[in-house]
């Protein structure tokens, strides 16, 4: 059930400016509002997009969180690929990587 609360943390953060202020000012208190494993809480402390992706966070929630953190688009894609290299395949949900980690846009390839 923990993935549920991990995603709920991000859902609330993504849409609630009050939660965004709390995130900036007292992250530990915000983390304490949700039933998270140590691994999940740590991934949120570090803004570890790769691990969050592997843990199964829905891509739409994760994408908005990455935008909130100010992560550029191609960096966001790269972080997910590196997460898989480091932690293995996505463990839950429907946002698994289906390719071999290649880029599907010329814009990213030519970066």
């Amino acid at each position: 059930m923990s993935l549920y609360y991990l995603q709920k943390f991000l859902y609330v953060l993504n849409r609630d400016e009050g939660a965004q202020k709390k995130y900036q000012n007292d992250l530990e208190a915000l983390l304490g509002d949700f039933d998270l494993t140590d691994e999940e809480a740590d991934a949120l402390r570090k803004g570890d997009i790769g691990l969050l992706y592997v843990l199964g966070v829905n891509g739409q929630i994760l994408m908005h969180y990455a935008a909130f953190l100010g992560i550029e688009w191609f960096d966001y894609l790269d972080m997910m690929r590196k997460g898989i290299e480091e932690h293995g395949p996505v463990r839950a949900g429907v946002y698994t990587m289906t390719g071999e980690g290649e880029s599907f846009t010329e814009e990213e390839k030519s970066r």
Binding site: Y4, Q7, K8, Y11, N14, R15, Y53, N58, G59, Q60, I61, L62, M63, H64, A67, F68, G70, W73, L77, M80, R81, I84, V94, Y95, T96, M97, T98, G99, G101, S103, F104, T105, E106, E107, E108, S110
Partner: protein, 275 residues
């Protein structure tokens, strides 16, 4: 008076957010021109309000209380929830249509158990279309959501029935109402596969949709859609509801798989409104 316009368009956040990264600017601008034509068509229809049938992405609805369908009846909405720099759309207030939305909801409820909401925050799923279709945010909006994100998803045949209910509801009110369904065909958004597009699947589905081939479009299983069209393909529900609402043949005004930076086969279409 009645439903006066029905169309579909893409809503992917890259359409605005990554416009500057796009190298195929000719195709991009051709797409933008088609969206502007859609804006003009809506304006020419005399629509007094616009229903946006969307597939929102956890801006309002989460797995603590996920409706199969929801209609917004608020007086005003805020959007986008995303970082405006990232989406390249400024945060703004969008007018709602509480009285009209309530009357439509009441009629839809005669056949579909729809939820309603007086609060609604718009994400890219609605803000990107509005950015092109009502750039001055001066047309009252009735947001509608179909659950395309959190399984178990709304069944396709229920999306069709919901479209029929929306049509009946629009025809029962004195106002002129336009309806736009906004979703994706095949895409793998927000994953490392972002930019992957199954053009053959897209063209087959869109062809069936435009021909009003109900049996074919309702025949896709979620497993098949996921395998062939990714989790983004679940959003065909919005297009299916729109086709059902219109009832007439469709015209695919624009489709291309040549803008993968937008992470979807970008689409613009419209339907005749059957009598």
């Amino acid at each position: 008076m009645s439903l006066v316009y029905a169309g579909v368009c893409s809503h992917a956040p890259g359409i605005t957010g990554r416009a500057d990264l796009c190298e195929n600017t000719e195709k991009r601008d051709e797409f933008y021109a088609q969206l502007d034509k859609q804006r003009q068509d809506i304006e020419d229809s005399g629509a007094e309000a616009l229903i946006v049938v969307a597939a929102e992405h956890f801006a309002n609805f989460f797995m603590n209380n996920m409706p199969a369908f929801c209609i917004g009846i608020g007086a005003e909405y805020q959007g986008p929830i995303e970082d405006p720099e990232w989406l390249k759309i400024s945060k703004t207030a969008v007018p709602g249509a509480p009285d009209l939305g309530t009357r439509i909801t009441r009629e839809v409820m005669q056949t579909v158990d729809v939820a309603y909401a007086e609060e609604w925050k718009f994400d890219h799923g609605i803000m990107v279309p509005l950015n092109f279709l009502t750039p001055n945010y001066d047309l009252p909006i009735i947001p509608v959501n179909i659950n395309c994100q959190g399984p178990p998803l709304t069944p396709l045949h229920r999306a069709w029935e919901f479209g029929l209910a929306l049509r009946r509801s629009c025809d029962a009110v004195p106002e002129k109402v336009a309806l736009v369904g906004t979703g994706g065909v095949s895409h793998w958004p927000a994953t490392p596969d972002s930019g992957k597009i199954n053009e053959e699947w897209d063209r087959r589905f869109l062809g069936q949709l435009m021909r009003q081939d109900k049996e074919a479009v309702l025949g896709y299983s979620d497993q098949e859609t996921y395998a062939q069209a990714g989790q983004g393909g679940y959003e065909i529900r919005t297009y299916i509801a729109t086709a059902a609402a219109a009832g007439g043949l469709g015209e695919l005004q624009f489709y291309t798989a040549e803008l993968p930076i937008f992470a979807v086969g970008v689409t613009v279409g419209r339907f005749d409104i059957a009598a």
